[in-house]
Symmetry: C2
Subunit: 532 residues, 2 copies
């Protein structure tokens, strides 16, 4: 099996050697206008200090529990900038005492039982791709130890019901693993978060993950038909239904619960036929706001593009999509049933009315083949590679991170300007220089999801403090301008201070009541989302 | 102001005189194959016995409290068959002690305060169109009295935000009242439940009401951008957001809470431009299942028809839509932005492949005018008049009621056959004869919402017992075949036994915990949805 990096994003073999990294760093320096530093190597696994497990496992669980060095290191952190820097520097104080690899719900129940008896924290772990400190143990608090509960052995498509286009899938299946099983039957979940290679269905549900597509089924919420969760108080299993008006929707409490209420073990999700018709085009605009206006009119026209992604000029350049110094709108339509060129044509018409220019003709493809190449493809490649680039930049002393929000259309310009100003000020103050860019990833009739990237030179050893200041400035600005602290990256520990201001206090009261009812001993993912 | 019937559906002036009713009853008898009975008159308002209010109101609330005979009678029941029969017969034991007509949130808070101090039940009341016993007082329990909290004086569109296509609307606004205010700006909520004339935004949110449209925004859940609710524990106000991934969605606890957690006072909802392009067609099929198969393929093709409504042969005949003895599929597309005839064309192609016949050419209309007439219009007229017909049938000794469910496509045929068989058996047993019909109102990629109507001769004085047997048989069959007890009519008191079987027991535990946190004294709508 291809090995994962214990400290950085993704597969070990995707971390380039020192020479290649030096080249990438030099290229980045040229683009960014500030210098990357000498590339360093991460502290090797063998040199990491790990405490002895604080508790001994019960005999009947020995076979599924691991205290292996690499396993514990891998399960210590998610993959935020902060996590990668921490792991790179060899700080593994948060390593769990044990990593559990259950193969059945019975074993999960046994682990929860043990944790209750021995006052252990249980951290449900899917792909470990959290960027909000959602999969790490608490250091404070009353727990005697911590178990990382890895769902990866529960990764099968258990049922495929083609008439209703629905599949029952185990929570530990990653994107590629579940898609391979669906593809054998000509179907697809068609949910592609940037973390797709490693993140899992259960993780997506727990964190309300966003996919790649711009409209309609934008987030995993829209795919869930029913869900199964093991909580300390018992099993939570909802009925398979396309819709119901019977009381508040039980699935909507599980969605976003971030492992604090139970361990999601499987779900029925809505799948679809693989698209066969495609049509796409790229338009250029003088200013980000003009392209956003075009996107607004397109989505309010009820056109439902699969992709309606906007890059500001610097974002387009950094991602090798375009060096035109203009904002880029990537439009794509797709269908498994019918040609979509008419829809694209209408969207282009709207975009041109809003000031867009179409440098190249649209690319249309029918059932016989898919048009490849062009700016959209360059974008997609950059999209899935970005987290790997972060590994390299960390090793080269560059702070590189992203954050996203969502707001209504009327607030976008003010929010964008406010966030850019706040981040630029924080970059100047913390790092001297730096860049911040914006793209738009999802559009709704009533609003949009702007997604920001910031890059700056790190002061080695103080990166996390620099980064914390920038992140706080950005988050404050988002809240001040009517955004949400996250469109699709959950709350974890990282977003807690802003989440606590964003959500109604009475909802926190309600959620705490639910938490106490389902997890009375408070063993599940303590410190994440809410306090008991 | 046009007066509402204190016992039956809708406006007083829509209840025909005895002669007209006799004519309608005769016509119905001919269609149904059993005889309606002599038409009777409801017990007049003056002859109704009402208890004296059990409690005296506090001085500062006197101006907004009413113990008026008609007001109390009107607020005693919803408008299920059972309610109409009960009101017709003059049984007003469930009349509230007082009807409150607050004009502000402060007054609502004061009412909740008073109710807490004096142990009174508070029943939030929108349009009073509940068909699940959702707006009546408890007779059992510890409450010393009951207040019906009528939101109708809070009926304004407070803000209209055209860039984001969103409006802030008070909870007491009925469909026509809010649409009139939106129409002045060229916008529409485009949510048309059958109760549209009388039901309110707050009621829709509290009960997760379904609208008229078959795909995309089928239920009010999809329209809510943020919501404001006054609960005994304080104010619950969510942020206006197009989407957020920050924790479980707080709005989704309010949606479906049926007045048990708080009083919804306003919401930001997603509005849209009024449609200008329309295209529709009607297809005939040999069998209901063939038409359902066509609808499945259309919705799974991603075509999003505004209407994709199926009537079985008897339903089509009873609604004067068609007497062809075939199943009828009504297809309609509409858009505010672009022509939709191509989409309709593809949907017709799919429907024909599935065995549909197109007796008449499609009706296409552009921005200049709307094509009127045809089977779809006859259907719409019948749709909004149906509840008025129920008043007449009650007076003529005919049991007439509907119920709906939702299930995945794979279960539809078995569920349909099982429900029809169970209801026919119950009709034979309870009434000797009777008819049951089915239509399909909403379609989803993974399932559909079948809607059943039953009609049978009543044994006067025993109608409610007959009806209860039929309803129980239908509900048992729905649950047995994987359906939900309601697609869009909520739980109330009526659906409790089946809801309690349908939802996960752990969810009930969670919901009870939320209830205790928000309404610790248990004053809000006791007996509905959950027990504390």
């Amino acid at each position: 099996m291809r090995e994962r990096s214990h400290w950085g994003w993704g597969f070990k073999d995707r971390f380039p050697d020192r020479e290649a990294r030096t080249g990438i760093a030099a290229h980045a320096s040229a683009l960014l206008g500030f210098s990357a530093q000498e590339v360093l190597d991460p502290v090797p696994l063998e040199q990491i200090e790990l405490r002895e497990p604080a508790v001994a496992p019960p005999g009947d669980l020995v076979e599924i529990l691991s205290a292996d060095r690499e396993d514990r290191a891998l399960h210590s952190y998610g993959r935020s900038y902060r996590d990668v820097v921490t792991g790179f520097s060899g700080d593994y104080r948060r390593a769990p005492d044990w990593v559990a690899h259950p193969t059945s719900e019975d074993e999960i129940e046994r682990i929860l039982e043990w944790a209750g008896e021995d006052q252990l924290a249980v951290i449900p772990y899917g792909g470990g791709t959290s960027v909000v400190r959602g999969v790490e143990r608490p250091l404070e608090g009353a727990h005697r130890g911590a178990i990382s509960l890895d769902l990866s052995r529960l990764d099968r498509v258990l049922d495929l019901e083609e008439t209703s286009r629905a599949a029952r899938i185990q929570a530990g299946a990653t994107g590629p693993v579940l898609e391979a099983q669906l593809q054998a039957r000509g179907l697809t979940l068609r949910h592609y978060p940037q973390s797709y290679e490693h993140s899992t269905l259960g993780g997506w549900i727990a964190t309300r993950a966003g996919g790649h597509y711009a409209t309609l089924r934008t987030r995993i919420d829209d795919f869930v038909e029913s869900v199964r969760m093991i909580s300390p108080a018992g099993v939570w299993q909802t009925r398979r239904l396309p819709a119901s008006g019977a009381g508040p929707d039980p699935d909507r409490i599980v969605l976003g619960s971030e492992g604090t209420l139970g361990v999601i073990t499987e779900a029925w999700v809505r799948v679809s036929e693989r698209p066969r018709w495609r049509a796409r085009a790229t338009l250029h605009f003088e200013h980000l706001y003009r392209s956003a206006e075009a996107a607004r009119r397109i989505v309010q026209a009820g056109l439902h593009p699969a992709n309606c992604r906007i890059l500001d000029p610097l974002e387009a350049e950094l991602n090798s999509v375009s060096s035109s110094k203009r904002a880029v709108l990537i439009l794509a339509f797709e269908s498994a049933d019918h040609a979509v060129d008419v829809l694209l044509g209408r969207a282009i018409e709207i975009a041109r009315d809003a000031g867009g220019e179409l440098p190249d003709p649209p690319r249309i493809s029918g059932p016989e083949g898919r048009a490849e190449g062009g700016e959209a493809d360059r974008w997609r490649e950059a999209f899935f590679s970005a987290p790997y680039l972060q590994n390299v930049l960390v090793s080269a002393g560059v702070i590189a991170d992203t954050f996203e929000t969502a707001c209504t259309w009327d607030r976008f310009q003010e929010l964008h300007a406010g966030v850019i100003a706040a981040v630029e000020k924080a970059l100047a103050w913390s790092c001297g220089v730096g860049k911040v860019t914006c793209r738009i990833t999802h559009v709704y009739p009533d609003g949009l999801a702007p997604y920001f990237t910031f890059l700056a030179p790190a002061k080695r050893g103080s990166e996390i403090s620099q980064w914390t200041d920038i992140k706080a400035a950005a988050s404050d600005a988002i809240l001040a301008h009517g955004g949400t602290i996250t469109h699709h990256h959950a709350v974890g520990r990282l977003h807690r201070p802003w989440y606590d201001r964003e959500r109604p206090e009475l909802f926190a009261t309600a959620l705490r009541a639910v938490k106490r009812a389902l997890d009375p001993l408070g063993i599940l993912n303590p410190g994440v989302l809410i306090d008991p």
